[in-house]
Symmetry: C2
Subunit: 319 residues, 2 copies
Amino acid sequence: MPVIDDFGIEDVEIGDVAPGFVIARADTISIDAWIRTTLSDAGMHETAAIGETIPALGVGQIVESNSSDLAVGDWVYGMMSAQTHALLPAAGLRKLTLQDGITPSDFAGPLNVTGGITAWVGLIRVAQVQPGDVVVVSGAAGAVGSVVVQLAKARGARVIGIAGGPAKCSYLVETLGADIAIDYKTGDLAQQLAQAAPDGVDVFFDNVGGELLDIVLDNLAPAGARIAICGAISQYQNLDDVRGPKLYLRLAERNAMMKGFVVSHYEADYPAAMAEISALIQAGKLTLPEHVVSGIDRFPEALLMLFDGGHLGNLVVRP
Amino acid sequence: MPVIDDFGIEDVEIGDVAPGFVIARADTISIDAWIRTTLSDAGMHETAAIGETIPALGVGQIVESNSSDLAVGDWVYGMMSAQTHALLPAAGLRKLTLQDGITPSDFAGPLNVTGGITAWVGLIRVAQVQPGDVVVVSGAAGAVGSVVVQLAKARGARVIGIAGGPAKCSYLVETLGADIAIDYKTGDLAQQLAQAAPDGVDVFFDNVGGELLDIVLDNLAPAGARIAICGAISQYQNLDDVRGPKLYLRLAERNAMMKGFVVSHYEADYPAAMAEISALIQAGKLTLPEHVVSGIDRFPEALLMLFDGGHLGNLVVRP
């Protein structure tokens, strides 16, 4: 696991803005688990070289432009990275269209490709949630998990969220509307899940992996269950020796499916995902609280916080 | 692992045949991996009590009948178990309709629910094989694997069979028509597979599990691969501590699916499976050599043989 001293902060002058390039002031930077995987060479994502700026997605506003596609003042989404201002090709940014009730920072949260859009793709395209399904979500109080809980409820499922600690569990039920919250830090998780889903789990949206995945495999519905593998935050410190699911043969015994996904594979679905999530936000049926860490110098602290479970909702840095 | 001395042989008188019951002379008893799982209490299948007859599927011929549904001389398929004659309710047996070119023992092999029908369901319904797919089959020289290889070829796939030893590998290519055979006992399996499937594996039909499953996960096609989990014969000695796939996150990285199945879940597909396999047999395009162990007293020996890899094709006992 990286420590704060592994990170350095530099003041760099941007210099000239070449034709086709723009400067965006970073407004909201999303702290996502995939960033961690760029800091190892396990090959899950591209590895960031030592000394390079840490990559991160986020929302910004154009402050200087040498492109006819973007004007000063435009809001954009893209690879802001861990910096106050990003010099980027205009072609690498998506200009945001702000509708009523949607804020720019929503695009770094419920409408972020690695946030709410990932939740939508995993729940709806990969796990193919149906009304009446018993849906279990791990890491349920995080950015992706929070949207999964609310989308599953909106689609008519019964939702069990798994998270750590009473504050997160209360948030799952009171703020997000989960039917049941299970605190994995308290009591016997297997027993709690068996009680919460006596007829078995139809859909599991997994952000955590490790032993938790085995416990859900052991509680799958007798037939037709679908597991969407979104991530495995419990394993990212140790990608060279991941704990594989010992109970994967439950997939055979219970005619179940485990399907992994990278959200970018489903790019064609982004408009449908954006439309459904935007409508739910506008109707007041979907919310994603921000846990804001202020100051770009605290980016490393925010990144480490993602792994110690200390935040709730969407963890962002606001430079 | 059981040893020969764990088994006993008894002479038992059948006695009266109650109304609705019949006596079938067991003709061909199929030695299947699932039998092994009934000899442990790991809960994968029902556990056979100590002292009970070992369950086994097979083909027999009616020698005495107290049912109007079956007559002496009829060929039947059902739970013959490890015995020369089976006293069974007629309702538990399926009367066989023999077409030209199809023998009764085919129903204990390419047309056996746990043989060729399992191959069909896994390849066609679970893995949804398509023409042009690169298909990898483990345990390819066994009863299920042999049918998978030939069905995949018939459906227009490129087929890589994995088996142990030169005799089996030669059988895969020469008898079954596999494009490539890989001997897992020789050389580096990962390297051989990477060479055989440079663009990645689209379909993996897994009968073996263990490290082999990880090697295939590491060689999946960039997107859309499908793994059908049929069994895990490498793990059946140790079902309490199965080696889970450490590389299961490849499913996420490569947008791939792993789906398990129990063939009985797909009972509605049996007629389509029977029809396709029968037609291929009749056209001379599908064969499944029998490895016959003669004498019911050698049933335990045959069962142990299934796990030491000593047979080729369909392992059967002919009492």
